[in-house]
Symmetry: C2
Subunit: 648 residues, 2 copies
């Protein structure tokens, strides 16, 4: 593919394998994929696929059991990967790719590798047609859709296949190919246009990736001509059963449905007086005979709220809606929960719902597309944030990564951009997501180093690696510094969500307020005097968040309304913290831009140019954030900056 960036699979990554003798045992499509990979690498680098005297053995042992685990070890000068499932063999192959030359050094006891989460999924918010407001990819910052062009599935699916290969190399095994907001054209993917989905599934299948489809709850009405979509109505259940059967006839390994119901205008079971368990279970029943799963999103809240009403709290909504339904969902129904209670802000607490539904299979949803984190014009590596979430023991002794029995999902940040993700460094988010989904407790910094080494071909300490690490490592906290402070969130331009507007959502119906006045700022979500949201947590979180004295600084304004002279644990007042972090954040962007400039000649020129261009915009935007936020709070508080810096 002319000009498409190789991301973390540059040709050079295959040199260690491609220069060696590899023995491959086993049959089936995925083994063929592995064989094809090795053969191509050898053709390029002079190695060979052999029957004897191998440097590397890749072996599917026995019948393919469908498993994803593999074992890798090295003795007597031969590296051996074995797996009981073909998917496992594929992951083992990419494990060797990731190890590079290290895979062929010394001796290593066989080590067993298996993904901790069975489902590692990307949700594409791609529309088939270009939406008049949202464009083709809703919240997409990397061009048009990889899957859809000119109103239908792409005819040339080479790029989709290449995408599947990248995903497999970081461990992702499922993709939902269309937007959870299902518009008219996209609704028909479920029925008469399922052939297009099958074509895409065919391109992803060789890399072990199952295809899922977002469907509209109103499908029986809008597609089936029924008068109701009531999930308890017999004709509705029959319609869905028939629809699911036809989908599986076209795509035998189809993954299942993704549903956004009763949310931001999408139809759902509430219209029929039914619960979300009724809705999800009806779809689960349709999918069950075929082994499919329904992913039912928990993003349900009142988006027509009155800003005057301070008792309603959007943060409470998912918990209030769904916890009463715990235990009622079918085994193949997964409740898909955003990691925070609001909407992918740069800083949120972990959703208390995740710890409160032991009888339900939950999937946790992250957002790789940087809707609120710089829209892939800003460097913002989300690994540390996601890792904090996944390691957070939100229920006693159980981290989020273990509670996500239904899998880990990210909203994709990929489009038909030549760099895949618009900002080349945003590829790190996609890669990190895949690796964390495989191992939620992994050290994200190790993943970052791995990504840098694969993508930029340099080990730690050499070439551009140190520079890249310094740019990416703290970039999330840098972004946090120059945007909305102390967990209060939003303050973005309404609609497109790019750039600052401190009061942009303050008098809106969206439930996203900061309540700043001349004396203070923040949302009182305590039980004692606020919305009671803090009480949705189990111990110790409920107590921790309840009081401004114990609440962590970085979430203080999410949980409490405090005065500008409130003293943080850091020893700074809230207002001085706002000023300081905003000046620091911009300084950090300036420094990162400098570092990037110094890497010219050490990285691919096209990548360098694209990132350099984005740094200019990031810096402009960061300064705008700094000046608007500081001016806003200075005008409101009247408190001068201790250090006398320029505030407008």
């Amino acid at each position: 593919m002319q000009g498409v960036d190789p991301a973390w699979l540059p040709d050079g990554a295959f040199r260690p394998i491609g220069t060696r003798r590899t023995l491959i045992r086993g049959t089936g499509p995925l083994v063929d994929t592995v064989r094809g990979e090795v053969t191509e690498a050898c053709a390029r680098f002079g190695g060979a696929v052999v029957q004897d005297d191998p440097d590397l053995v890749l072996e599917l042992t026995g019948e393919d059991d469908g498993g994803e685990a593999f074992t890798c070890g090295r003795r007597d000068g031969c590296t051996t990967v074995t797996a009981t499932g073909a998917r496992g063999l594929l992951y083992g192959f990419f494990h060797v790719v990731r190890l590079g030359e290290a895979a062929f050094l010394g001796e290593t006891e066989p080590q067993h590798h298996r993904p901790e989460l069975a489902l590692r999924m990307l949700d594409h918010w791609d529309n088939v047609a270009v939406h008049p407001v949202m464009g083709q990819v809703e919240r997409g910052y990397a061009g048009g859709s990889l899957f859809w062009a000119d109103g239908r599935a792409r005819g040339d699916l080479e790029r989709v296949r290449a995408y599947g290969r990248l995903l497999a190399a970081c461990g992702i095994n499922a993709v939902a190919v269309n937007n959870v907001n299902v518009h008219a054209a996209e609704a028909r993917l479920l029925t008469d246009r399922i052939g297009e989905v099958a074509d895409i599934a065919g391109a992803l299948r060789p890399y072990g990736i199952r295809t899922h489809l977002s469907v509209t709850f109103a499908a029986p009405v809008v597609l089936g001509g029924l008068e109701t979509a009531d999930p308890l109505a017999t004709e509705v259940r029959e319609w869905w059963a028939g629809a699911a059967a036809r989908v599986y006839a076209a795509i035998p390994d189809f993954g299942g449905f993704v549903v956004k119901a009763d949310s931001e205008g999408q139809p759902g079971p509430f219209a029929y007086g039914r619960s979300h368990a009724d809705g999800a279970n009806m779809l689960a029943a349709a999918l069950a005979p075929h082994g499919g799963t329904v992913h039912w999103r928990a993003f349900v809240y009142d988006h027509r709220q009155d800003w005057r009403d301070r008792s309603t709290d959007r943060a409470r909504a998912a918990y209030d809606h769904f916890v009463p339904l715990d235990g009622e969902f079918a085994d193949n129904a997964v409740l898909q929960v955003k990691h925070g209670p609001m909407d992918f802000q740069v800083r949120e607490p972990v959703s208390p719902l995740i710890g409160a539904m032991p009888g339900t299979r939950l999937a946790v949803e992250l957002q790789a597309t940087q809707e609120y984190t710089g829209q892939q014009r800003h460097v913002c590596w989300l690994g540390p944030m996601w890792s904090e979430v996944l390691r957070c023991e939100i229920a006693e002794g159980s981290p989020v990564g273990a509670l996500a029995r239904g899998g880990l999902v990210a909203v994709s940040n990929v489009g038909d951009d030549l760099f895949w993700t618009g900002h080349p460094l945003a590829q790190a988010n996609l890669y990190t997501f895949g690796r964390l989904a495989w191992e939620p407790g992994a050290d994200p910094h190790r993943i970052l180093d791995e990504w840098i080494r694969l993508s930029f071909g340099a080990g730690p300490g050499s070439g551009p690696a140190a520079g890249l690490r310094s740019i990416l490592d703290g970039s999330w906290r840098t972004y946090e510094k120059y945007t909305a402070p102390l967990g209060v969130g939003f303050m973005v331009q309404p609609g497109h969500h790019y750039g600052p507007s401190v009061d942009g959502y303050e008098y809106s119906p969206w439930g996203t307020y900061h309540f700043a006045d001349r004396d203070g700022v923040g949302v009182d979500r305590s039980v004692a005097s606020g919305t009671g949201y803090a009480g949705q947590y189990a111990k110790p979180w409920a107590e921790l968040y309840e009081s401004p004295e114990t609440c962590p600084d970085e979430l203080l304004l999410f949980f409490h309304h405090v005065s500008y002279d409130h003293m943080l644990k850091s020893g700074k007042t809230v207002i001085q913290h706002i000023y300081d972090t905003h000046f620091e954040g911009v300084a950090e962007v300036e420094a990162a831009r400098e570092v990037w400039g110094s890497l010219v000649g050490l990285v691919d020129p096209a990548r360098h140019a694209r990132v350099a261009e984005r740094f200019e915009e990031q810096l402009r935007s960061a300064r705008e954030w700094r000046d608007q936020v500081n001016s806003y709070f200075f005008r409101k508080s009247g408190v001068p900056d201790e250090r006398g810096r320029r505030i407008y």
Copy 2:
């Protein structure tokens, strides 16, 4: 036309003529129009067009001299209208229509009537194609375009002809048929699509209305294939001369060009290092051989301003750009100036430019379409505002209405809506504009009564007239009360400009700020300490506006930044004034809605239903304005309402 509202020309308005014997003398197309009107009225009501013994004589005396004046009197039981021009006869005819039965009572000395302004024009911001952001009619709130549909001029021009008739009946004699922001398709109206403009001109001509066209300054490049649009380049001048000649070949009575240049992204002479006089005069030269006029808009300012920079003042821009060019414009170049220095806010001072260019023909531009005054969902009769502007003696002894030697122009509020203007009561703005353009010193309240009598068929004191007058008469001040206070302007939602967003433009590049902080609000435009804008005025205005002590309350925040406890001449503090007016404004809307409710049965049911529906939205929106503005200033100032009313 099925279902189209008759506006101020219901059939009944023609009864007084249609029941009588009318003698018509003269020949020519406009006389034929008059004859057709009378004949149709007689066919309906039993009168006759006669050769002798008339009750009414309508006479074109001699050759048509093109004049618009007429004389009307009554003696010996016969009403006589004479005119030396056919247009005058047409206006005389509608004068009799407006008089109704009163035209046929008693004896009246002949009275001479002539328009004070020769050009009385509507600018339609209509696009041929539907623009993806702006829709078809930019800032249009009455449906699609009257002129253009399905990407070309309407085939059926009956509605356009009816529109021309309404305009003639209130004295309007010119229409620009496309948006001043000239997009690609619309640019071609000047050249290969001029035939479509000619069709529209043909439908408007029978009512004495000339057609004008908005053109792009870049036409020689984008249409002519030249490499430059430099107004001093010979090939450019020749291209425009040829283009103008071809326009006049298609439309012999074509009015001229309207140009928005170097403004909000439109191309202009600055790109070639030329002045706006160079640009305008080049087009004037192309039009001069044919008797046409170029209307060159003075709406030139920096729309990429830095909000941090308090020295740049958008209000200054038109004066700073154009006053140095006074005397340089050709005779057939008209500089078209918005009535205020900003952009059609509910309250602005008169533009100082209007009093400062004695050597230039100026046209004054008003905005009938209610972009910033409720978008035809709110009742807001602009007659009193326009009248204040026109009677303001901005240069010593000369009111704006006399300084507007180039004419009075309004941005049209009409579309293909069945009520013409979306909100039926917004018809009053169109009518009032026409009548004020004819007689800028007229009492707007008399015009309102005339409009009510014609449109609702009731004299003062009877039927719905008193109610209508009470709803409309103070509606502009009501709107002012519940929106941005004391002349500070804006505070609207960015982009579409509907509904409140106090900080919506505060940190934007558009030059529209209020600078509210915890201590005060307003823009210091004094010479002593501010941007110096106040110094652009002649005496006595410069002194009046310079000091907060003498500046009129209603413009205080336009000219000065004052503290919330600043005492107004009204005896209230600024902050209490904000609270009081916002509560009052909503109460006045509630009262108006009540009055409208009481008129059910007294007005046409379709009109009643439409207005009733709009009142619901107006009230909702007014409450939103009240609560957001009051909350914003309460949160900032900390000053409680003296009367303890609810502020959020």
